[in-house]
């Protein structure tokens, strides 16, 4: 396992370089969508190949530790950026998602954490893979919504709301599935759907925050500034739910801690 982790840096550099070149092409030649999209697609293939190799060497899904979920987040951040670029032709979004993805890759290089083959009994469930991948995918989609909200806040550009809406609807749909699959899994493993464990509480906060955004939009309430701030706040809650909660004193006895 250690050997496989040692080669991560090569896959990471290749993926980041490919994605970055794609982002630069998107900036400099806005009319050529195919070239940046192909480069970013190749970057995802390279990064995805490492995940497959790691999965195969561990003989278990690499989804247990926060470090392993960062791998998925980096991968899905690339995918979400690519989707947003192809769908709305924002030439800047690839650069932002490249930065977002690279930040988590760098953290994984500096703090690789544990990548052993152990998988405790509570995680040996059919819900493990769908629950984690769906959550990571939604986190990445909502990461793109966060980037667009930042841009909307700075540029005071009303048109960003349409893109944010689409991303939040997709993100919330996957977030809902992640939360509900987690509830069913919790019932199967521990006997109750919901116990207000700190991780669950922050999942509820994140879900309610995005739900509030959708209702503000449906009811035609809130200014551009307020809506962008709400999306940024929701993303902060999402980060808290993902890894920030581990640093809270109230979470020290959480049942959701698996090798920080």
């Amino acid at each position: 396992m250690i050997m496989v982790w040692d080669i991560f840096i090569y896959f990471a550099i290749a993926a980041v370089v490919l994605y970055a070149v794609g982002a630069v092409v998107a900036w400099t030649r806005p009319s050529k969508v195919g070239v940046p999209a192909s480069l970013c697609g190749m970057a995802m293939l390279v990064f995805g190949a490492f995940i497959v190799i790691l999965w195969s060497s561990l003989s278990r899904p690499p989804m247990r530790t926060i470090g392993e979920t960062r791998l998925w987040y980096s991968f899905f951040a690339m995918a979400a950026g690519l989707f947003t670029y192809i769908r709305w032709k924002y030439n800047w979004v690839l650069s932002f998602s490249a930065v977002l993805s690279t930040v988590f890759i760098v953290i994984n290089c500096l703090k690789p954490q544990i990548h052993d083959a152990t998988l405790m009994p509570a995680l040996q469930s059919g819900w493990f893979i769908p629950h984690v991948t769906v959550y990571m995918f939604s986190y990445s989609i909502l990461g793109c919504a966060f980037l667009i909200a930042l841009r909307g806040l700075v540029n005071k550009d009303e048109t960003v709301l349409q893109s944010i809406d689409t991303l939040v609807y997709i993100g919330l749909a996957f977030l809902s599935f992640g939360m509900l699959s987690g509830a069913v899994w919790a019932k199967q493993a521990w006997g109750d759907f919901w116990t207000w464990d700190p991780k669950e509480t922050w999942a509820a906060i994140t879900w309610l925050s995005y739900l509030a955004y959708i209702h503000f939009r449906l009811l035609h309430k809130g200014s551009l500034k307020w809506l962008c701030i709400l999306v940024i706040f929701s993303f902060a809650c999402l980060q808290m739910c993902w890894w920030g909660v581990n640093y809270l004193p109230s979470a020290q006895d959480s049942v959701h801690v698996y090798g920080r």
């Binding site: 083959a117 939040v168 759907f193």
Partner: protein, 250 residues
């Protein structure tokens, strides 16, 4: 909580639902009902409950048992019920099913957890191989006699090289049957009563384990709500951001 156990919780749920239906039917144009159907009520219910969760997120699980947290949840359920009734009458077009699935699903989940929680009972029993027992204990130390005897036939544990457990597996016999229990694989002993393998217990030489009996009669309602919400989430993804048509002012 025992005060609100069955049948009190069921009566309260029916009274609450009955009052909402009665208000909806006969006082739809009253200031009270119109306020519950207003955007202000919708947004404030989400934001209030979200704020309550935020406090609980920092302060800990104890907050979720407080009167103010319960009130916020109850307020959200009530707003949700009124909005659902209006949606059932008004919501048209292709978003009708998405609206109903998401709102009815969430309401079902919340009602089942809110009114059903007093009926939930969690008991534990610690057994060693060959031991038979029908006595289990709650977290507060109180005892309960099960309607069946459980005998631990065998308990197997395996560990990874670094000492992390890889397998917990118990073989129990009850009701004349032999049952295998694993973490994530409980056994349904009765209607809405499941037996879980929780962990190993005592010195490893004794080879014992802890079993947990969970009674949760309202769980099927929660499962129905979850299925409705998952279906609603699929439609949320497929249909994307579109505005519901057909709402009319009361």
């Amino acid at each position: 909580m025992e005060l609100f156990a069955f049948p009190v919780n069921l009566i309260l749920a029916l009274v609450w639902g009955g009052i909402i239906l009665w208000l909806w039917k006969d006082y739809r144009r009253s200031v009270f009902v119109r306020w519950f159907l207003s955007p202000l009520a919708t947004l404030s219910s989400i934001l209030l409950f979200g704020s309550g969760c935020l406090v609980a997120g920092f302060a800990g699980v104890e907050c979720t048992r407080s009167w103010w947290f319960t009130s916020e949840l109850f307020f959200m359920m009530t707003v949700l019920a009124f909005v659902l009734l209006r949606g059932l009458r008004d919501a048209g077009g292709k978003l009708r099913y998405r609206f109903i699935l998401n709102h009815f699903g969430l309401l079902t989940v919340l009602v089942s957890l809110f009114f059903g929680s007093p009926d939930k009972d969690v008991l534990r029993l610690s057994l060693t191989p060959g031991m038979t027992s029908d006595i289990a204990y709650r977290e507060d130390g109180s005892m309960d006699k099960l309607r069946y005897e459980v005998c631990l036939e065998d308990f197997r544990t395996d560990y990874y090289e670094n000492g992390v457990p890889s397998v917990y597996e118990a073989t129990i016999s009850m009701d004349g049957k032999t049952v295998s229990l694993k973490v994530n694989s409980p056994y349904a002993a009765r209607f809405a009563e499941q037996i879980y393998l929780v962990s190993a217990s005592g010195p490893q030489a004794q080879g014992g384990c802890v079993l947990q009996v969970v009674r949760q009669p309202w769980k099927w309602l929660t499962v129905i709500g979850i299925i409705l919400m998952v279906t609603g989430a699929v439609l949320l993804f497929v249909q994307g951001p579109q505005t519901l048509s057909g709402h009319r002012e009361e």
